[in-house]
């Protein structure tokens, strides 16, 4: 992984495997138009020709995904050489992996933090926000009561009552989750400004650690809401 924020513009001096013309990060040779092998170590942002910024416009990203799909999909190479078919399969897979990651804000920032070495892949620290400890405790109590009431076959009024309380609690936590999302979005702006001004490592690191901490809270709340939803729909 490189420290650079935009691989798309980096000079590689690669030559096209077919005609030998100079190919930079492009997916196709500018001279003969042949599909090119993936650039070693190219990250998902660079694959889309984007800098490592976080505030992505969903519509634009989708448009770019569609454009690249039309060009890279294996259907386009059904009559091409075996080598080109393999390249198309590999690159179409990376394109889809990249889009799946970048389209979701949370997956996008997790991916960036992995690229930048702040988080390890798949590392999820679930952190209960300290100011919510009491409410979380209460919610878990309702959940346990609901399960117990169901097990005991209690009358529907008691179950309904617990359900209403849980639903209210869920709405509250969904609100908190939205607040955390907003916090994360604010960090996106901050990060993107940093990418443009390209300051010393310390400022970048601080912002990334802040985002990592928000992610931990986000992950905790998301799981909590999911558990409650599952229990309510059970």
């Amino acid at each position: 992984m490189t420290e650079s924020t935009a691989d798309a513009g980096a000079t590689t001096g690669r030559a096209c495997w077919d005609c030998g013309a100079v190919v930079e990060g492009e997916h196709f040779c500018p001279s003969c138009g042949k599909i090119q092998p993936p650039l070693p170590g190219q990250d998902y942002f660079a694959f889309f020709g984007l800098p490592r910024k976080l505030a992505l416009d969903a519509k634009q990203l989708e448009q770019k995904f569609h454009q690249l799909s039309w060009k890279l999909h294996p259907d386009n190479f059904s009559t091409a050489s075996a080598y080109e078919r393999d390249l198309s399969l590999e690159k179409a897979a990376v394109l889809n992996d990249a889009y799946r990651t970048l389209r979701e804000p949370v997956a996008r920032v997790e991916y960036l933090l992995e690229l930048e070495g702040i988080r390890r892949e798949g590392e999820i620290k679930q952190q209960a926000p300290p100011d919510l400890l009491e409410e979380v405790f209460e919610l878990n109590e309702y959940l346990e009561e609901l399960r117990a009431a169901r097990r005991a076959g209690s009358d529907s009024r008691e179950v309904d009552d617990l359900r209403h309380r849980l639903e209210a609690a869920r709405r509250e936590f969904e609100g908190k989750l939205e607040a955390v999302d907003a916090e994360l979005s604010a960090c996106f702006e901050k990060w993107d400004a940093l990418v443009d001004s390209n300051p010393a490592g310390a400022a970048r690191k601080q912002t990334m650690e802040q985002m990592s901490e928000i992610l931990n809270r986000h992950s905790y709340l998301r799981n909590l809401v999911r558990n409650v939803t599952e229990e309510l729909e059970a």
Partner: protein
């Protein structure tokens, strides 16, 4: 490149289609009797030959022990998966069926891919007869919710039948291709595909020729077969109560089953139907079945389709009211109850103008055409229906490619060792949504080879790739040496490569018959052309100058060619054609001379009616 066909390999019926060059429209190819449907039924006759399709279906009644149907339900399955169904289906399972089911059919034992290959071969021959040339490449459809093993089994069937499977396309997606072709449709479409053995629901976004599947869900064990089985159980229970006898003999069960299927079909248009069945030695079971009673029986089966619909919508992030159009596919969508339930759930009237039996094959033909001609105005982006995971400590599953990811899709994982000089890491790949390995479908196991080194030092990168067919492949690379490592994956269910190779060899005797068939078609086509040309030449002005014996020789040769063409002997046809060629040699020369003279006078050859 020869013609590439699209094939719908269905539970109950199979079809083959192609795109007609002049109109650019997909068309199903019919058999000699004009039927496009081929029952997916295979029977072994007393002489050891296979009978496929309509005649095989008739043999269900007379030779049930030598006849199989609905074999698609067994594709990619092991014995433990289908034990419940075996009671109903009268398949006779042979020993050694743990990872691949082996069915005893008369004296032979066959796997589901081999049986499916016989159906594919029949369609292949139908297409070859139609085109007058060999067909070696096909696009075959599969239920969207088929897992890796079921897809691989379908691909194997194609190989055994002598077909290179250029692509497996999901059935609802294929249907959307045929559907979207009509008018340049845009928007969010739900395809509700309720067939003979499987149920699929797919949510697609259509935009400027791009067919992007947002989510898919389904049940590979839910279809018209289940309705038929339920009716059968109901009727058998009534017969037991009324006549104190159980219908168990295979011939009788099949007879009763087919009568009930006929009643089911009738109830799609009629309000009531009469069922009659002769109970051997006891009398006649007769009853009138009204639509309301029928619907009350089957309602629980139809209701089982709604859960997958909800999940698909949730995964696609779409509310029912945001669906622009609903398309019905599969024979079971002819049931009025199904149409009502779909309308209720999506809040809009579904499209029924497409023939629900043919639309999947037509879509497969469209995809075949895209692959053959590189048509660039339509593109399908499909998804993988199930999450791909690997086993971690304690039998838990780490998901590496989530369900509904656009395919091709990939994931790379880094592996190392936990003890010094460990030379292998065992990897177990599964598919499914549950947290524990035991609740997911085992796909394959393999051992990653590692050079002996201190623990934690080796770094082997394993890449899992799901291709555009939804089939997984695995490659490994030692990051320290950069060397690619071969990975020998042992599939948990299904045939090994060696087994498929052996089956291809075994099917060469059929391939020989295929070859003869193709030769016969080619010879007949050539014969027709030559006969036509000869008739035309004999009608020309110059032909009047032919000597009488010469004309008679030609007429004799024509009669002999016609006689030969009525036989199956392509060699004889070729011989007689050669004779006719020689007999018409002088005539052809005379016509040629006229053409040359005309050309010298500055006239175009076609103006002298050559």
């Amino acid at each position: 490149m020869g013609q590439i066909v699209g094939i719908d390999l269905g539970t109950t019926y199979s079809l083959v289609a192609y795109v007609e060059k002049t109109t650019g429209r997909p068309v199903c190819i019919a058999d000699e009797a004009g039927r496009t449907l081929l029952p997916s039924v295979v029977s072994l006759d007393a002489g050891g030959s296979f009978v496929v399709g309509w005649p095989a279906r008739e043999r269900l009644l007379t030779q049930p022990e030598r006849t199989v149907y609905s074999v698609k339900r067994l594709m990619g399955k092991g014995l433990a998966d289908v034990e419940d169904e075996l009671k109903l289906f009268h398949w006779r399972v042979a020993p050694g069926s743990d990872s691949v089911i082996r069915i005893a059919l008369g004296e032979k034992v066959l796997t589901p891919p081999e049986i499916s290959a016989l159906i594919l071969r029949e369609l292949k021959q139908r297409a070859e007869k139609f085109f007058g040339e060999e067909v070696t490449q096909a696009v075959i459809t599969v239920p969207a919710y088929f897992n890796d093993g079921q897809r691989q089994a379908t691909k194997d069937a194609g190989r055994i039948a002598g077909l290179e499977v250029l692509r497996l396309v999901n059935e609802p997606t294929a249907a959307s291709l045929a559907y979207g072709l009509d008018q340049r449709r845009e928007g969010v479409v739900a395809v509700y595909d309720f067939g003979g053995g499987t149920f699929d629901i797919s949510i697609l976004k259509l935009k400027e020729g791009l067919f992007e599947v947002q989510a898919t869900n389904g049940d590979t064990h839910l279809g018209g077969d289940d309705i038929d089985d339920l009716l059968l159980e109901q009727a058998r229970a009534e017969i037991r109560a009324r006549f104190q006898t159980d219908i168990t003999a295979a011939e009788q069960v099949q007879d009763l089953r087919q009568r009930l299927i006929a009643a089911k079909h009738e109830l799609s248009s009629a309000e009531q139907t009469a069922i009659r069945f002769a109970v051997p030695g006891k009398g006649s079971y007769e009853r009138v079945l009204g639509r309301a009673e029928f619907e009350s029986w089957i309602a629980p089966i139809v209701a089982r389709t709604i859960g997958p619909c909800k999940l698909a919508l949730k995964d696609a992030g779409v509310k029912p009211e945001e669906i622009d159009e609903v398309v019905l596919v599969g024979g079971s969508t002819r049931l009025p109850l199904v149409r009502r339930r779909v309308e209720e759930f999506f809040g809009r009237r579904p499209h029924t103008e497409l023939n629900p039996d043919e639309v999947v094959a037509l879509g497969a033909a469209v995809q075949a055409d895209i692959l053959a001609t590189g048509v660039k105005d339509m593109l399908l982006l499909d998804v993988t229906p199930l999450s791909l995971g690997i086993e971690t400590i304690g039998g838990a599953v780490a998901k590496i490619i989530p369900r509904n990811s656009t395919i091709p899709a990939s994931a790379t994982e880094l592996f190392t060792t936990s003890v010094d000089n460990q030379t292998g890491v065992d990897i177990h790949v599964v598919q499914g949504e549950r947290e524990l390995v035991q609740d997911c479908r085992s796909l394959a196991r393999f051992t990653l080879k590692i050079p002996p080194q201190p623990a934690g030092l080796p770094r082997v990168e394993v890449k899992f790739l799901i291709d555009a067919n939804g089939i997984l492949s695995v490659t490994a690379r030692d990051l320290r040496t950069g060397e690619q490592q071969s990975v020998e994956v042992k599939p948990s269910y299904g045939l090994t490569d060696e087994e498929v190779e052996r089956m291809i060899l075994e099917s060469i005797e059929y391939a020989e018959a295929d070859f003869q068939q193709v030769q016969l078609i080619a010879a007949r086509t050539e014969g027709e052309n030559l006969l036509r040309a000869t008739q035309k030449a004999l009608a020309e002005e110059q032909a009047k100058q032919l000597a009488r014996e010469e004309r008679e020789r030609i007429e004799r040769a024509v009669a002999e060619v016609k006689e030969a063409m009525a036989t199956q002997d392509y060699k004889l046809i070729r011989e007689r054609l050669e004779e006719l060629n020689q007999a018409t040699y002088h005539l052809a020369e005379m016509l040629m001379d006229t053409a040359v003279q005309a050309a010298l006078k500055g006239k175009r050859a076609d103006e002298v009616n050559l």
